[in-house]
């Protein structure tokens, strides 16, 4: 599967994917957290 990727290529792929998934996960989880906080406050 990874035989064509060089070490550098693998590093760039992991960093690139990691950045995107990290940003996506962080922002969506933060929104979910804030939304549930504001829902419980309004109750």
């Amino acid at each position: 599967m990874f035989k064509f990727l060089t070490i550098d290529g693998l590093i760039f792929l992991i960093l690139g994917w990691g950045f995107v998934f990290g940003l996506l996960g962080f922002s969506l989880l933060r929104i979910l957290k804030n939304e549930s906080k504001s829902k419980s406050k309004s109750k």
């Binding site: 599967m1 290529g9 792929l13 940003l23 996506l24 922002s27």
Partner: protein
Amino acid sequence: MEQKREQWASRWGLILAMAGNAVGLGNFLRFPVQATTNGGGAFMIPYFIAFILLAIPLMWVEWTIGRHGGRYNHGSLPGMFDSMWNHPISKYIGAFGLFISASVMIYYSVLVSWTLAFSYFSLTGEFNGMNDLTMMKDFLLNFQGINSNSFSDIIPSYIFLIITLLFTFYILSKGLSGGIEKFALVAMPLLLFFAIAIAIVVLFIGTPDPTKPEFSVWKGIAYTWNPDYSLLSNPKVWLAAAGQVFFTLSVGMGTLQAYASYLKPKDDVVLNGIATASINEFAEVILGGLIAIPIAVAFFGIAETQVIASGGSFNLGFVSMGVIFQKLPFGNFLGFAWFFLLFFAGATSAVAMVQPVISFLTENFGYSRKKATVFVGIAILISVHFVIFNLKYGFLDEMDYWSGTFGLVLIALIEIIIFGWIFGIDKGWKELNEGAELKIPVIFKYIIKYVTPLYLIFILGFWTIQEALPTLFMEGKDPSTHSTLWGARIFMVVLYSLLCFMVYKGWQRRKLDKLDKLNTLD
């Protein structure tokens, strides 16, 4: 009579609408070509640097300008700039922003209609038996009317264009929450579902011909991510990366501002903006990077894929993908899924491009949303005829360069200077952080004021010398197309002049409205 300002019905509706605004054909077609022809994995270095220093600051600035303008009932750049910069010229500079979104929409709607057409053709088996690139390319050129001089040959593409325009304007006529938001809540999850499904299929394809081990999806992925460091010393790569992040987030078009103008004054723009940007990057870096190039390499090999990619995004996205799906089981359905996800990506962006003009008419001329939608719809319908009948002579490409490429960067530079230097970075920073659900590192205050403008000046400077001047003087263009290219330029100048005139009239009307109100109070 003032109409109550519309609002987003839900936070997720807002985020998906903004993500729809950003996610477009470029995520799936332009990004793979740019990445692989500009150094592969090494391209990601200038890409992510540009993302942090250029795209994110501009995206935050545009959300803030939009929300600020909405407070004064301005959903388009003329009014937004006017509310930040107390100078008579500010609204006419804002009119240039309105011109950008309107003129891009004129030709973008044609591209979106092609994706709808190809979805239909895939599903109905029109591509059955089209096993090679030449056959598919001929089909595309015939469909576009490039291979013919007769209107009857482009009747199918004309019909799909009318359907696309009717659909887009139907969505817009239903309003913000009833139309744009509802559409985004359906289109974006479906788009992502189709893209993820196709990406999974691509990964399972692996090496379709075991006798050609280099013809492999994994080779394609490696081609995208293995770095060619030698290209990093080439300024063109840095410019290409900056351009890609710029276009991918749809900054510089006035569309983010238009959507943000419907936020309440204390609604968050920071976290919402980051969420939107990250959805866009997921569609681009992950999904866009996993589909077109890897599957093209699996079936055509690296060398042929490089030739395909050098022919442009449509060569990759329409011609090669169309042929590839013919070679797969359930190819008709997969082809439909591919082109339909591109249709959703394009349609959600197209809707966003028209919204500033509709806002402009409803807020400054008192049009109802339906009346504004019909008015703009007719104007766009008339204008697209210039594009479709002059496609082969470069009308679309000329508009794409001046409004969709150069113009975007120019507007972005203007707005960040207005935000950071004229409105003032202290006021701007306070406005940006109003209601923020995420603390922005203070360094971004200085990035917005100094780094981003300098980066944009650098890009514009380079582009002016390397591209704008040669484009202006039509270097390398077939002399038989010169009259069409001048026609496109005159068209754009007339459109901008018309918008400036409408701004002038709109502001006169606002002044009269204010006087009437004062007289009523007396």
